[in-house]
Symmetry: C2
Subunit: 352 residues, 2 copies
C-alpha cells in the first residue's frame, strides 16, 4: 500500500504532486541534539548503526521535528566491506578506517559478497523495524555505497586520501580493481534487494568518489557497476514500483551517461544548475537535489531565497525531489532546516 | 622576439605546430631530488619563493631534465595576500596558513591591493631573472591565484576546509565578499601586468577552489572577477601577443562560460573528456590539459598509453597544450615524467 504521503514516490515517477517533496541527505545526524543524545546512549557510532532499535529511533527523529516527505534508513555506507571482514572502525573525531584494508592480490582473491541475511542482518532488521514504525506515513529509502566508492575505502583503508592506491591499481592492475568491483556490485545488489524485501520503498546508490575519476575511468570503473546493480534490482515490491536514485558527487558533466543506466532519478550535487540538468536529461529521469548545504549556515531569510532559486531553476512541472547537494553539515542549526522545509513546501505549491 | 621553441605560444593561438607542446603543472616540485636539495639549502619553502636566485634555479631544473615546451615562474599562489599583510606561513608537513586571516568587517575594510613593485618585488625580479636565464629557449609563464581562491585562503585562514567561513559570508554578507574579491582582482591585474612587463610571455590564472561553488555563485563570485582581470591585462608586450589561460579545477560543467570571458585558453582538469570539451568550446579557445596526474603512478607503458588516449580524444588539428589535469604529485617518479614527455612529443607528430 502506498504511504499516506506519497509525494516523494510520485515525484520520482515524474507524476503530479501538490508541491515539491523534500528530504535531506544525512537528515538523521549530528546537527540534531536528540541524535547526539541517542548516540551518547549507544556509546559509539557503530553501536548506533548495528542496533535496529537505535537505528529506528534516530531515523524517526528528523521526521518528528520537520514535515519531511521521506525517511532514510540510518546506517553507514561501509557496512558491506565490514561484513566482508575488513574491520570497520571509527576513531574519535576522525573518519572511518578499516583494520584490514585490501593490500595485495591474495586479499582480493579471497573477497566474497556477504549474504545479507548473515552478517548484514542487523541492517535488514532495521529496515523492517523502521518501516513498521513509520506506520505508512512517508516512504522509507534504503541505500548503499557504490562499488567504486566502497572500493576506495577498501583499498585506501580510509577516506580523505588522494586515491593514490586505488588509482595506481586502476591504471596498473585494472584486472584486480575489476575483481573488487564485481564482488562489490554483487554484494550491493543482494544487499539492496534484501532491503527492498524488508520494506524499503525506494533505494539510493551513493557514489561519493566517482567524481575523482577521469571520464573514461568513471564509465568503466564506476558507472558500469552502477548499471549492473540497477539491472539486478527488484524494481517492484508489494505491487508498487521501487524507484532507484543514483548520485555521483561531482558527476555533473556525466549526467547524460548516468541518466542512461536505467535508474529512475539522478542525484545532483550543488555545482550543477538544476535547470540546465533538466534540459539535458529531464525527459528520461527525475532529478534530486541540489541546494548547496552551506546555504544553511546563512540566515533563514537567505535559506528561503536560495531554496526559491533552486525551485525556480527547475521550473514548472514534475519530477523534482528537493534535497541538498550533499549531506547536511553537523554545524547546521535545526531552525534553518525548519525554514528550508517550510520554504520548499510553500513556495513550490505555486509551481504545481 | 619569440623563443626558439614557440610551440606552446603557437598552440595557445591555435596555430599549427609540428607536435603537441607540453608542460606540467608544478613541474618544479618535490618529485625532483634536485628541487629538494635546493629547498634544503634555502631552509624553507618561503625562502625559496622569496629569493629570485633560488626561484630561478628551481624553475630551470625540470627543463634541464626534460624537453618541456614552457617554463613557469616558481612561486606560490598566496604571495598577494602575504603582501597584503596577512602573514603567510608554512608549518612543516602542513599546507599554507595565514597568521592574520580576515576575521571581521574592519579587516576587510582595511584591505588594499599591494603595489607589485613594493612588497611583491621579489616575484617581479624572479620573472626578469628567469626570463634572462632561459635565453630565448622556451617561453616563460607567469601566474596568479584567482580572486576567489585567494579569498578562500584569506577568509578561512588555511586550505583543506569545507569553506564554511567563506560560504557563510557569500550567502549572508555578499557585500563583504565582493569587497575582498574586488581588491583581489585589482591586485592580481597589477601583479600579472608587472610579470608581463618583466618578461612573462603568457599568464595563467589558477582558480583552485571555484569548483566548490554552485553555478550561480561561481559566475558571480569567481568568473566575474576572472573576467575583470582578463579585461585589464596587457595582452601584448614587445610586439608579441601575451596569451591568458584560465583554469578552474572542477569547472568542467562551466566550460562555455569560462571560454566566454576573453581568455585565450581554458585549462581542464582530468574529469572532462577533452574531445567533448573541444566540441563545446574549441572554436573559441585553446585547451590545456588533461591527464589524470595519478596515471604517473603507473608503469611507463601505461603512461604512454594514457597520454595517447588524451591526444586521441583531442583529435587532429591545433590548439592543444598537453598538461596534467592538476599539479604533479610529489610521489611521482621522474622516469615516468620522461616517459610522458617522450610519448606526447612522439605520438602527437602524427596528428599534426
Amino acid at each position: 500500500m502506498p504511504p499516506k504521503n506519497d509525494t516523494f514516490l510520485r515525484a520520482l515517477r515524474r507524476e503530479p504532486t501538490p508541491y515539491t517533496p523534500l528530504w535531506i541527505m544525512r537528515q538523521a545526524g549530528r546537527y540534531l541534539p536528540e541524535y547526539n543524545a541517542t548516540r551518547a546512549r549507544a556509546g559509539s557510532f557503530l553501536n548506533l548503526c548495528k542496533s535496529p532499535d537505535f537505528a529506528t529511533e534516530v531515523t524517526l527523529q528528523p521526521l518528528a521535528r520537520f514535515p519531511l516527505d521521506a525517511a532514510i534508513l540510518f546506517s553507514d555506507i561501509l557496512t558491506i566491506p565490514d561484513a566482508m571482514g575488513l574491520g570497520l572502525e571509527f576513531a574519535e573525531g576522525e573518519g572511518p578506517r578499516f583494520r584490514h584494508p585490501l593490500r595485495d592480490e591474495s586479499d582480493i582473491a579471497k573477497l566474497a559478497a556477504p549474504d545479507p541475511s548473515g552478517s548484514l542482518r542487523y541492517v535488514i532488521d532495521a529496515v523492517a523495524q523502521i518501516r513498521k514504525a513509520l506506520a505508512g506515513s512517508v516512504p522509507l529509502i534504503g541505500f548503499s555505497g557504490s562499488p567504486f566508492t566502497l572500493a576506495c575505502y577498501m583499498i585506501e583503508g580510509q577516506g580523505g586520501t588522494e586515491f593514490e592506491r586505488v588509482k595506481t591499481m586502476l591504471y596498473d592492475r585494472p584486472d584486480l580493481l575489476h575483481r573488487v568491483l564485481a564482488v562489490n556490485a554483487e554484494a550491493v545488489t543482494a544487499y539492496l534487494n534484501a532491503q527492498i524485501a524488508a520494506g524499503a520503498q525506494a533505494v539510493m546508490l551513493f557514489d561519493t568518489w566517482g567524481g575523482a575519476l577521469s571520464q573514461a575511468a568513471y564509465l568503466e570503473f564506476s558507472l558500469a557497476y552502477l548499471q549492473r546493480i540497477v539491472q539486478g534490482l527488484a524494481r517492484e515490491h508489494e505491487g508498487e514500483r521501487v524507484p532507484v536514485i543514483v548520485f555521483t558527487k561531482g558527476g555533473g558533466i556525466w549526467l547524460e551517461h548516468i541518466a542512461g543506466i536505467g535508474c529512475d532519478a539522478v542525484g545532483l550535487d550543488w555545482t550543477v544548475d538544476i535547470g540546465a540538468a533538466r534540459r539535458r536529461v529531464g525527459d528520461r529521469v527525475a532529478l534530486q537535489g541540489n541546494l548547496d548545504p552551506s546555504v544553511l549556515f546563512a540566515s533563514p531569510a537567505v535559506v528561503q531565497r536560495e531554496a526559491g532559486k533552486v525551485l525556480a531553476a527547475f521550473g514548472r512541472g514534475h519530477g523534482h525531489v528537493f534535497n541538498l547537494g550533499h549531506g547536511i553539515s553537523r554545524h547546521t542549526s535545526p531552525e534553518n532546516v525548519a525554514a528550508l522545509v517550510e520554504a520548499v513546501h510553500s513556495q513550490s505549491r505555486a509551481q504545481h
